[in-house]
């Protein structure tokens, strides 16, 4: 039964291969219906399969572990890397999120991309992405995980630059690829270090090795920090967060799937997967927590100042992943995964509703030219409202349960008021402000310039995923995943009521602030105060990196235009060319010249003999 799980990543791969191979057999583009059937069907089947396996596992023995060995991938000396899957509840939860939310987004894409010329290419990439992401979460060793890790990075690159005819999109894709590459390099070095120290990269073996013996904490800390580097790159956390807002250049369902629900949470998954390692290192845990806390505040404030509907959501994604890192850093592993799950639901919902808004307004993304849309696209309005409520963690939405869990864990971690908890609480307030600012500016208030020619673009194929996601976002809080077997059980502590009260009150205060400030704001968004401008530019990180890294790099490459190192090899070639020219000049084909040289040579030789 569990062997069926091997088919889960295989199905999207088959879908991808079919979609890619079509031009080999068929000259004209296949009909959209066929492409949609393959593209959506493969992920749908995978989702179905995952659910069946999850339910059987759940009823049988919730804590049972399953290992599936497919084949040996590489074998070098004592490095054994197998194409093996390890399945526990963390994996199952991730599988359900990826295939479930992935399926809904695929379905929605059929409607969203209906007028696109490259319908087939789109679904091919999307299927490949799902396959890579599934390999990432199923892998039982870090090398296979890295394969999936790079695979999702590649698909992210391909899909950000999907509309490649626009140069800006290509630039955004390259930025995303290069920035995440920095983190990936750190992660690769971390893997080397782990292998060097423990001579295994199998995660379970690694954990048992660490459990079994006294280990060097400094090495563990270093390895954890390097892995954190990879996670930070992939999950767009400080200081590598700059690529995610630009990644919004891709189609909106892609933003929903890759840059909100699944791929960017891979970093969270990685750290949760390696949590026994992190628990050994106080420094690494604190680093994770502080990265999360700063990121969630910085990007939260950035979100307040944005004018592009998708960039607001992008910054909110960074901020919410910051919450997950905060949770990881304070040891609330299941809290982080729980928030990952609810976030996948409500952020996918928000992005897909935003996609509907964008499509209805004929690809208008500026929120200052929207407004008053609630009458024209009521279904989208309702879904967006639910999404915003979850994002802001209003009571009894899914976001509330998971975020509350994180805030309480941050409180417990230091037994009282502490900077992490304060950051989380302040972040909750900011989240309330920006999410309701977005809602008010887009759907309430006076009609903007773009609202007048709004035409509801929702087709059933788009509405159904929206409704399902809305239901999941609302009630997902009740689906707390059974992760005790993976992360252990934490003792429940009693908290004084005021902590809960603060956590509930903060989003509501945020809502009030947004109501007061933004409900009737009719500014074009062009004139901003200096502070807003600073936040708008994402705290000037792009400017900083531009001056710190990009410009010196460009300057150096200008200097090195002729490749200084290469001149060594060019010099060797030039010298041998010169020698060749010299010697071939002596081979001039003149018999008399040869004879003369022969005579002169003989005379010299004889003279030499005589002289000696």
């Amino acid at each position: 039964m569990q062997g069926l799980l091997a088919w889960v990543p295989l199905l999207p791969l088959i879908g991808f291969l079919i979609l890619v191979a079509i031009p080999l057999f068929h000259r004209s583009e296949p009909p959209q219906k066929f492409v949609a059937c393959i593209g959506v069907g493969s992920v749908g089947l995978a989702a179905l399969l995952t659910m069946i396996v999850a339910f059987t596992l759940f009823w049988k023995t919730p804590s049972e572990l399953v290992n599936i060995s497919l084949w040996q991938w590489m074998l070098v000396d004592n490095l054994q890397v197998g194409f093996n899957f390890h399945i526990d509840w963390l994996t199952i939860v991730m599988l359900l999120i990826i295939t479930g939310v992935g399926f809904l987004i695929h379905l929605y894409s059929v409607g969203y991309m209906r007028d696109d010329m490259d319908f087939r290419r789109y679904f091919a990439y999307l299927n490949l992405f799902v396959c890579a992401m599934l390999i990432l979460v199923l892998a039982d060793n870090l090398v296979l995980l890295y394969l999936g890790w790079e695979g999702v990075g590649l698909c992210s690159y391909l899909l950000i630059g999907f509309w490649y005819k626009e140069p800006a999109n290509g630039t955004a894709a390259q930025k995303a690829f290069i920035v995440t590459r920095i983190g990936d390099t750190a992660m690769a070095i971390g893997l080397f270090l782990l292998f060097y120290e423990f001579s295994t990269l199998n995660i379970q073996q690694l954990i048992s090795v660490i459990d079994g013996q006294e280990v060097n904490t400094e090495i563990i800390t270093l390895a954890c920090l390097l892995l954190l580097g990879g996670a930070v790159g992939k999950s767009a956390q400080l200081p590598l967060q700059t690529w995610l807002p630009d990644a919004m250049a891709g189609p909106t369902p892609v933003s929903a799937l890759i840059h909100a629900a699944t791929m960017v949470t891979a970093g969270v998954y990685l750290i949760a997967r390696m949590h026994p390692l992190y628990m050994l290192s106080e420094v690494a845990m604190n680093a994770v927590a502080f990265v999360g806390a700063t990121t969630l505040l910085i990007s939260g404030f950035s979100a307040i100042a944005q004018s592009d509907i998708k960039r607001v959501l992008a910054y909110s994604t960074i901020s919410q992943i910051g919450y997950m890192f905060l949770a990881l850093g304070v040891g609330a592993w299941s809290g982080a995964i729980f928030h990952l799950m609810t976030h996948a639901f409500f952020k996918a919902l928000l992005f897909l509703s935003a996609g509907s808004v964008i499509l209805s307004l004929h690809h208008e993304q500026n929120i200052f030219s929207m407004g008053g849309l609630y009458r024209k696209i009521p279904l989208t309005f309702i879904c967006f409202t639910i999404g915003c409520a979850c994002l802001a963690a209003l009571p009894f939405t899914s976001g509330f349960y998971s975020k509350d869990h994180i805030l309480l864990s941050a409180w417990e971690y230091h037994q009282g008021v502490n900077i992490l908890w304060l950051a989380g609480i302040l972040g909750a307030l900011v989240t309330g402000v920006y999410s309701f600012r977005l809602l008010f500016l887009v759907f309430l208030g006076k009609e903007g310039t773009a609202s007048t020619h709004c035409k509801d673009a929702n087709t059933p194929v788009m509405s159904i995923p929206l409704c399902i996601l809305a239901a999941l976002a609302l009630f997902g809080g009740l689906l707390a995943p059974p992760l005790q077997a993976v992360f252990g059980v934490r003792p429940d502590e009693d908290h004084s009521a005021w902590i809960e009260g603060v956590a509930i009150a903060m989003p509501l205060i945020g809502l009030a602030i947004a109501w007061r400030l933004f409900l009737h704001e009719q500014k074009s968004g062009e004139q901003r105060s200096p502070l807003m401008q600073f936040w708008f530019s994402g705290w000037g990180f792009d400017w900083l990196y531009g001056h710190l890294l990009v410009r010196p790099f460009k300057y150096l490459s200008q200097i090195n235009h002729n490749d200084i190192i290469d001149s060594l090899y060019k010099g060797t070639a030039a010298v041998s060319r010169q020698m060749n020219a010299l010697l071939s000049a002596s081979q001039n084909g003149q018999v008399r010249w040869y004879l003369t040289s022969f005579a002169v040579g003989s005379i010299l030789f004889l003279a030499l003999l005589v002289a000696l």
Binding site: L583, S584, A585, S586, Q587, N588, G589, Q590, V591, R592, L595, T596, A599
Partner: protein
């Protein structure tokens, strides 16, 4: 029968050296293939003369035997070389050796 030692060894060597240098100079300076062949003959004959002179000096017949060999060799050489010259003239319509320079680097 004792062989009389020939007088004028030095003169013989001088003559043969002068002949050889003449032949060599002619080889280097002439462009006409026929003349070059004749210069080669002069060189060979200079060498052959040297054998004879040396043989006479030491009272040894080997020098004269070598002379016969050299003459035979020269005959064979001339036979081949003249055939080559004919071919050369046939192809190039000239006997200028400098025209024969296709094999150059």
């Amino acid at each position: 029968m004792p062989i009389e030692t020939a007088p004028g060894l030095e003169a013989g060597i001088m003559l043969s050296s002068i002949l050889f240098c003449l032949g060599l100079a002619g080889l280097m300076m002439r462009r006409n293939v026929i003349f070059m062949l004749m210069c080669v003959e002069i060189c060979t004959n200079a060498a052959a003369l040297m054998f004879v002179v040396a043989g006479a000096h030491w009272g040894n017949v080997d020098g004269q035997v070598m002379f016969v060999f050299v003459v035979t060799l020269a005959a064979a050489e001339v036979a081949i070389a003249l055939a080559l010259v004919l071919q050369f003239y046939h192809r190039k319509h000239t006997v200028d050796i400098d025209q024969l320079n296709e094999l150059r680097g």
